[in-house]
């Protein structure tokens, strides 16, 4: 018999954790002399009450879905991939090369090509830490952190010395050709008399992210590979017993994980900027950790958590626009959310379990 019903663990615990994080955030806002209620209503108003706001919220959500799935898949194999950031950067390189050097006839084909390229580049960047963990026993947490730094150096070199158009100031590539521009939500949903999503960056990549959620769900819970990844994650010795190669599984899980991180670049690079800039990833790789944790590494959970962080990002931007609250407040809120949902979750779970136990006993 379980101690606590599964739904309580999946829903109640994160919910209460978020509430605690929110309460503390409110205290922080109070402490810097602003009104939490006003801040909250500004955030909700800016992020959820208008289509443009949604356009931004969903844009960020798309990023976080990819990086969240990246962390989640690795988590299932009990690999802590902190390298989503670097993998996404290199994925961006893949997108840029695909968009710049292949004459695509139509955006839809370009999208497929760029997706493959982004995933391949991201996967390649994750392959090395995966390989080193599997074959040489180097700690994946450390190697992926190092690979974030190295990715940044690689990207900088490539942008400054190789891909930057002559005379340009930005360490960025040229703009991608017209044929690779992805339709935004505005292109898709706005009509002449109803200008929905005006100017917001959400684009078709969002649907790819949804597809990725479904694909990851199928992969993890419906295929033999997913079966092996989860088995390996639960018990390496059991995996060995069953003939599941730990090395192979580690490497494959990292490849998939890195590929998903790489695909994040589709959204920022192909969908939004339409060129590759230096800091296209903007820490989304790290937010992915929180997203995966909150989402309990389940695609649906990842989606919901990504939405929450998308809201935080967009709401935070609104705060920065209309108040004097420093932008770092959002970092603090994120930290609190990660802390309470990820690391201090037992603080909520333990008393809750006790509660269910007493309640359950009373009922029996």
């Amino acid at each position: 018999m379980d101690k606590m019903p599964a739904w309580a663990d999946a829903v109640l615990v994160p919910l209460i954790s978020i509430l605690i994080a929110a309460a503390l955030s409110a205290l922080v806002i109070l402490a810097i002399g602003e009104s939490p209620t006003e801040a909250l209503s500004l955030m909700i108003d800016g992020a959820l009450m208008r289509s443009t706001g949604w356009g931004y919220t969903l844009y960020y959500t798309t990023n976080f879905i990819f990086t969240g799935l990246c962390v989640a898949v690795a988590f299932h194999a009990r690999l802590f991939n902190i390298g989503g950031e670097g993998q996404a950067m290199i994925g961006g390189l893949g997108v840029a090369l695909a968009c710049l050097y292949v004459p695509w006839p139509h955006w839809s084909i370009a999208l497929i090509g760029a997706t493959v390229s982004a995933a391949l580049f991201g996967a390649a960047w994750a392959w090395i830490p995966g390989y080193l963990q599997a074959r040489r026993g180097s700690h994946i947490v450390i190697t992926t952190i190092m690979f974030n730094f190295i990715a940044s150096a690689v990207l900088n070199y490539v942008l400054v010395n190789l891909l930057r158009p002559q005379g340009a100031m930005d360490p960025a590539t040229a703009r991608f050709p017209e044929a690779t521009h992805l339709p935004t939500f505005q292109d898709m949903f706005a009509t002449a008399d109803n200008p929905l999503f005006r100017g917001s960056p959400a684009n078709v990549t969002f649907f790819i992210a949804i597809l990725a959620c479904v694909a990851v769900w199928l992969l993890i819970w419906r295929t033999k590979l997913g079966y092996e990844i989860r088995a390996f994650g639960h018990s390496e010795s059991a995996a060995r017993y069953a003939g599941i190669s730990p090395a192979r599984t580690t490497i494959i899980a990292m490849l998939i994980s890195g590929g998903l991180a790489g695909m994040m670049a589709l959204n920022t690079t192909m969908g939004e900027a339409e060129r590759l800039v230096m800091n296209a990833t903007e820490g989304a790789g790290f937010i992915g950790i929180a997203v995966a944790l909150m989402g309990r590494s389940h695609p649906l959970g990842v989606f919901l958590a990504a939405l929450l962080f998308g809201f935080l990002y967009q709401g935070g931007a609104e705060l920065a626009l209309w108040t004097n609250i420093p932008r770092e407040l959002i970092t603090v809120i994120q930290a609190l959310v990660i802390l309470f949902t990820g690391a201090l979750d037992n603080m909520v779970r333990m008393p809750l379990e006790q509660l269910f136990l007493t309640f359950g006993k009373g009922a029996r």
């Binding site: 960020y60 002559q166 340009a168 100031m169 100017g199 939004e272 903007e282 920065a320």
Partner: protein
């Protein structure tokens, strides 16, 4: 009301964005007007901030940093009644008549401080510390090196970049070490164009009793007696002027160089003791020559190469 958008470095970077803030602040104080400003946090917010401000009726919308030019080009057409200003960026005026691009001739300003560095140097070796290795910073370095060589063709210019990640703008410890390294190689004047990292450079130069050159804002006050000068980039004036002009702002492309006092060298009480009359004279002379077109300072960004320095 006008609005101001700072680039990712943030409002108080002690140099570029802070200069913009100072300009806006002065405008607000002098005219009693009010303005909104925002520090960007992510790439996608660039366009968002532009649109939100434009929709809310702010005019003009002033932005700093070359990275704003692309987003402005993307949104300008949607808000024909709003004037946009991109400082350091370039947007084609033919396509977007409601945009003012303001460019600075950093290389000429850097040239002048380079001359001063060469004249102040006793060792014949001077240093340059840049932030992240990007073309703009190379432009500074290249102009500086040319100025140094113009005074003393045998001088050595040691040029270092702090790093390749955005962290390179905020690592004063590394800045210090770079300065120490350059000092140990003989440099006695160091020009820092590296944001927060530069503070470490200036600090170390002061600690070691050498001279340093600030950037963007007038940083002479930071270490009086050790700051030879600062390479001014009058972003504050540009912002002030744009805000003063308000909705009637004249658009197009403005290049601010020595002639317009858009760039220059900072002279004040803090560095009066360090600057000899001879130096002042030479700088004035060179300035006039550049304005007159007699002296040509090569602009790194024109062809991505530098005659005076290897990258």
């Amino acid at each position: 009301d006008p609005a101001l958008i700072y680039d990712l470095g943030g409002k108080f970077d002690k140099s570029f964005n802070e200069a913009a803030f100072n300009g806006a602040d002065r405008w607000a104080k002098e005219t009693g007007g009010s303005y909104r400003d925002i520090e960007l946090q992510s790439e996608a917010q660039r366009e968002q901030a532009l649109r939100r401000f434009a929709e809310a009726g702010f005019n003009p919308v002033v932005t700093t940093g070359f990275s704003m030019s692309s987003p402005i080009a993307a949104v300008a057409a949607d808000y024909p009644d709003t004037k946009f200003v991109t400082i350091d960026g370039f947007v084609d005026p033919a396509e977007h008549p409601n945009v003012l691009s303001i460019l600075f001739e950093e290389h000429t300003g850097s040239y002048l401080v380079g001359m001063m560095a060469a004249m102040a140097s006793e060792t014949g070796t001077v240093g340059f510390v840049g932030g992240m290795d990007i073309p703009l910073i190379r432009k500074f370095a290249c102009g500086y090196a040319q100025g140094v060589k113009a005074v003393n063709p045998d001088a050595t210019v040691i040029s270092n970049m702090t790093g390749t990640t955005p962290a390179a703008w905020n690592d004063p410890v590394k800045g210090s070490e770079l300065a120490k390294a350059q000092i140990s190689q003989g440099a006695d004047v160091i020009f820092a164009a590296a944001g927060g990292t530069g503070l470490g450079v200036l600090q170390t130069a002061a600690d070691e009793g050498k001279m340093a050159i600030g950037v963007d804002s007038n940083q002479n006050y930071l270490h009086p007696g050790n700051m030879l000068t600062s390479m001014l980039k009058r972003v504050d004036v540009a912002v002030f002027d744009a805000m003063t002009a308000g909705a009637d702002l004249e658009t197009g492309v403005k290049t601010l160089g020595l002639a317009e006092d858009g760039v220059g060298v900072a002279m004040d009480d803090n560095n009066a003791d360090l600057v000899s009359e001879e130096m002042t004279a030479a700088v004035e002379e060179a300035k006039a020559a550049i304005i007159a077109g007699e002296t040509e300072v090569h602009d790194y960004s024109s062809d991505d190469s530098c005659p005076a320095l290897n990258f």
